[in-house]
């Protein structure tokens, strides 16, 4: 349906023109290469893997350096904040524009400059740290009124500087008494240590040292020349100097921040160049000729061939044929209308379809839309979504994926508004609206409605299964695996309906017969692929057991009612709380407004999140479970995903 038809091509071209050819193909974009390196039959024929050129390493280095420079510059870049920045958003370039502009940028110079500046910055930082450390070392000795060189300069006397644990203070003063030629002074005390200078002369030195050792004295060598206070002054000056130098460097880096967008361009350009260079890994080659295989969309085949002919001037050989339907290797490219395109992310999240399947996106979109709305169901919330998404879509330059995601919520907002009117809910009933349902009372109607939605959803899923089977020529399978199930399910549902509503006897009988026919059919055919009679019967009975799964599926749709109600009730509770405080004067009124805004915003977020994921669950488990296999490969165009720009 909406899976793009593919052609498979094999191209033989001279190795010497490889780079030109790849460049041309990258401009063309819509090429998906098959990795031939893993094909053993070809390598047995003597074809060798193409050696990836060494320039790849160089490109890799460049990419790393560019992204490093961007991260350095971004640290100093004051980003324009808020709405204005988002309005500017990302720019769109064509591939040629990107190449032209990127090539005109002397990025290596910029990189060099940034690197030098940053290295200078780092070394200044290091020096500053050192000076700070010196400062804290000197601090305890600040009140020592002797220059350090003097202390170290005695020839006859010994001087000891160091620390003694504070808890040994008394013992220290005891130990140090009774000397004649020894003098000591406690310069400073902090919470753990005493900072001590001691001085001894002649024979007493050894004894003094013993006393010091007895009190866990540990020696500290004070670095420097002048008095500690002067040394500190020097260091402080140095730090100031370093600070101003760092300021200068920072200023120069800041001046370079306008280069960021240019570097970003280079980054995206280089990523494409890398992809192009590395693409050769997919090829095989003889001595002179490269063998290239891959896929292109059928509708672009002519353009593809023309491009190659122009570039290679007829010196090539190419075979092209339509891709095989059953091949799992065929890459999948989805093409949908504007509306369904917004839902492609859901399909992608589950798995791409196989080439022989249908694209489930347009099939799931209307259901997702309805389910989401039923679970969020509030006119106010819907309007907020609608206005918000419209504003973003019109005012902001977004990346393609983000834009699609916003668009997705734009479509959903309509459903939320419509269901909001049906439920008669505006911000949980702040202004009473006449609705079709009164959720708090009609929950039974809503529950039945939910199950009916489930019924439609699942029957539709089975219909798609039948369509795919018939399309692939398996009419018998369609009859057995879908037709019989329709009979069994419909029969069972109508028959069970008898319990609740009285139906004419004839309907009851017919439904019973239909159900039994369906069930017997399922038992007879369900195990047809199994081996042996026992296997066939066992398989058939097991298939019928699958019926219990359908009960679970239908019940699962009750979440449509439950989430819609829960969201509505919570919104109502917020309003109730706001109403309680609103009565008490001006302050109360302000409080009520705060409670209302905060509570409703919280509930809005929670409701949307709940609706988003629970609708996904219904699609993935209940819907896809019936017909969808997935497991296709995504068509990866010959472009790297741009990080900073939109590439057309």
């Amino acid at each position: 349906m909406a899976i793009v038809k593919m052609n498979e091509f094999s191209l033989f071209a001279f190795d010497s023109v490889k780079e030109d050819l790849l460049h041309e193909l990258q401009k063309f974009e819509y090429v998906h290469f098959t990795n031939l390196g893993v094909d053993e039959t070809l390598s047995e024929l003597g074809l060798k893997n193409v050696r990836v050129p060494e320039s790849l390493m160089e490109i890799d280095d460049d990419i790393n350096n560019v992204s490093y420079a961007i991260s350095v510059l971004s640290k100093f870049h004051i980003k324009p904040k808020g709405i204005k920045a988002m309005q500017e958003g990302v720019k769109t370039y064509t591939f040629n524009e990107l190449e032209e502009q990127a090539l005109s940028i002397e990025y290596k110079e910029i990189l060099g400059e940034v690197d030098t500046l940053w290295k200078r910055m780092e070394s200044l930082k290091l020096e500053k740290e050192k000076a700070k450390a010196r400062l804290s070392e000197l601090k305890p000795w600040k009140s020592l009124d002797v220059s350090i060189s003097e202390i170290n300069g005695f020839s006859k006397a010994e001087i000891f500087t160091g620390t003694v644990p504070k808890k040994l203070k008394e013992r220290f003063s005891e130990e140090m008494t009774g000397f004649e030629n020894t003098y000591y002074e406690v310069v400073e005390e902090d919470k753990d240590n005493l900072y001590v200078v001691a001085m001894s002369y002649g024979e007493e030195v050894e004894k003094a040292l013993d006393s010091l050792r007895n009190t866990s004295f540990s020696k500290v060598i004070i670095q420097g020349e002048e008095k500690p206070a002067q040394e500190m002054e020097k260091n402080n000056k140095r730090i100031e100097e370093l600070n101003s130098q760092m300021g200068d460097v920072e200023k120069s880096i800041r001046e370079m921040t306008p280069e960021i967008p240019r570097l970003e361009l280079v980054y995206d350009y280089l990523s494409n160049k890398k992809l192009r260079t590395a693409a050769a890994e997919n090829f095989l080659s003889t001595e002179n000729v490269d063998v290239i295989k891959g896929y292109i969309p059928t509708d672009k085949a002519d353009e593809f061939e023309n491009n190659i002919r122009d570039r290679l001037q007829n010196i090539y050989y190419m075979e092209m044929k339509e891709a095989e339907r059953d091949s799992d290797d065929t890459p999948i490219l989805l093409k949908n209308s504007n509306f369904a395109k917004a839902f492609e992310s859901l399909t992608g999240m589950y798995s791409m379809p196989k080439y022989s399947e249908v694209d489930p996106t347009p099939l799931l979109a209307p259901f997702y839309l309805a389910f989401f709305g039923m679970m969020a169901a509030d006119v106010g919330y819907g309007l907020i979504m609608l206005i918000g998404t419209l504003f973003v879509l019109n005012k902001f330059n977004l990346k393609e994926n983000t834009r699609l995601f916003v668009k997705f919520f734009y479509y959903l907002s309509f459903s939320v508004i419509v269901w909001g009117f049906l439920y008669g809910s505006l911000f949980g009933g702040i202004i009473p609206l006449p609705g079709l349902f009164e959720p708090a009372e009609d929950y039974n109607t809503l529950l039945i409605l939910s199950i009916i939605f489930g019924l439609i959803h699942i029957y539709f899923a089975l219909a798609i299964k039948a369509y795919v089977l018939i399309h692939n020529g398996k009419v018998k399978d369609a009859l057995f695996d879908v037709g019989l199930w329709y009979l069994a399910l419909t029969g069972a549902i109508v028959y069970l309906l008898n319990i609740v509503v009285t139906l004419p006897e004839i309907v009851k009988t017919i439904s019973l017969v239909v159900m039994i026919v369906g069930m017997v059919g399922i038992v007879l055919t369900g195990g047809r692929d199994a081996e042996g009679l026992g296997g066939k019967i066992g398989g058939g009975i097991y298939s019928l057991y699958g019926m219990s799964g359908y009960v679970g599926d239908f019940v699962s749709y009750s979440r449509l009612m439950a989430l819609g109600l829960a969201g509505g009730f919570i919104a109502g509770a917020v309003n109730m709380m706001a109403g309680m405080v609103a009565g008490s004067g001006v302050l109360g009124f302000i409080g009520a407004i705060i409670i209302f805004i905060f509570g409703q915003t919280f509930n809005l977020g929670l409701t949307l999140l709940g609706a988003y994921v629970h609708a996904i669950r219904l699609i993935f488990v209940e819907f896809f479970g019936k017909f969808y296999e997935g497991g296709g490969k995504r068509f990866s165009g010959f472009r790297s995903k741009p990080k900073y720009i939109n590439l057309k």
Binding site: A440, L447, S558, I616, R617
Partner: protein, 159 residues
């Protein structure tokens, strides 16, 4: 005898109130534990990659819904509470509160564990973190079913 008479004449409102308490506190405890589990896992991630805060917050919120379901049921029962209600009515309301109370409690914890594991998807492969959200939502189905039953029970019988 006097005690039973007291219970019969005054028990209704007591059991109704007890029902509200059960619906709210059990599911609330569960959600708090669940959110706590995810929060711990998420904090580890944010140290390295603060940019992923928004997405991790979504995962953390997931086990929080049970508490809200319990709250909604509690609120609905509150609307029926009346000082003179019969014992049978009160006990019935309490029974109606049981499903969301118990299922909400345990499912929120289980959901929290799944969501915490989802944080590691977010850490290693951000593109696919929505899949972690969906795994976690699978657990919530059962809390929803319990909520639906509690909701129907609260309104199903009129006294």
């Amino acid at each position: 005898m006097i005690f039973t008479e007291f219970i019969v004449s005054n028990g209704g409102v007591f059991f109704g109130g007890l029902g509200i308490a059960i619906a709210v506190f059990l599911s609330g405890i569960g959600s708090a534990i669940g959110i706590g589990i995810v929060g711990q896992a998420a904090s580890g991630l944010i140290i390295e990659e603060p940019d992923k805060f928004g997405r991790s917050l979504v995962l953390q919120l997931l086990p929080g819904t049970q508490g809200l379901y319990g709250f909604v049921i509690g609120l609905l029962v509150l609307g029926q509470l009346d000082a003179g209600m019969s014992l049978a009515h009160g006990m019935y309301l309490m029974a109606a509160c049981m499903p969301i109370g118990f299922v909400g409690w345990q499912s929120a914890i289980a959901q929290g564990k799944v969501a915490a594991a989802g944080i590691s998807i977010l850490a290693k492969n951000e593109e696919h973190s929505t899949k972690g959200i969906i795994y976690s939502v699978m657990v919530e189905t059962y809390a929803l079913l319990a909520f639906v039953i509690s909701l129907i029970l609260v309104n199903a019988v009129s006294f």
